[in-house]
Amino acid sequence: AQSVAQPEDQVNVAEGNPLTVKCTYSVSGNPYLFWYVQYPNRGLQFLLKYITGDNLVKGSYGFEAEFNKSQTSFHLKKPSALVSDSALYFCAVLPNLSSNTGKLIFGQGTTLQVKP
């Protein structure tokens, strides 16, 4: 079965430190990969995506993610965390076979807590 895993329910980091939110996937073929962020009582907001090309993708608010095909991972990173980055982060995968339907598979979400 195709799936996305975010192994950490919560990540805690001090402001100014680098952060990593992990994501691994299990799909056939070459998937499209996404990160979204959800602030309290809001809808999800798109951060970045990997379609093809350079494995390091840069996105909104200083976030970046690295696609690693051999490890089937797409970890979200930021060099220096801000308190305002505290939110719920979702990794999502669009299997290539589903690319004509838009049927995204979401991970279970990781809560990022950045402390001052």
Partner: protein
């Protein structure tokens, strides 16, 4: 100038009632979606429409019926509401038409509470 707007924001109702949630997008997208987020924040797609045509219809009880009068609107009607329907329902849109790898734009959600 809200891109994807859904109403109402909160919906509290009793079991057995019928209710609707409305969604509108002004982004010119041709694909719209309904997602359900449960109490553990898990997100699951329910339906998607492309230019008023049903594309995705997940295993959802047939008490849930989407309706798309035009490509800018996708409403969700729920009959005979049950306690387990309590969740946050998100509408989203994207540029489809063979470019389904384009990002989703989400509304702010409708929190449905069934008592």
């Amino acid at each position: 100038d809200t891109a994807v707007s859904q109403t109402p924001k909160y919906l509290v109702t009793q079991m057995g009632n019928d209710k609707s949630i409305k969604c509108e997008q002004n982004l010119g997208h041709d694909t719209m979606y309904w997602y359900k987020q449960d109490s553990k924040k898990f997100l699951k797609i329910m339906f998607s429409y492309n230019n008023k045509e049903l594309i995705i219809n997940e295993t959802v009880p047939n008490r849930f019926s989407p309706k798309s009068p035009d490509k800018a609107h996708l409403n969700l009607h729920i009959n005979s509401l049950e306690l387990g329907d309590s969740a946050v329902y998100f509408c989203a849109s994207s540029q489809g038409g063979g470019r389904y790898n384009s990002p989703l734009h989400f509304g702010n959600g409708t929190r449905l509470t069934v008592t």
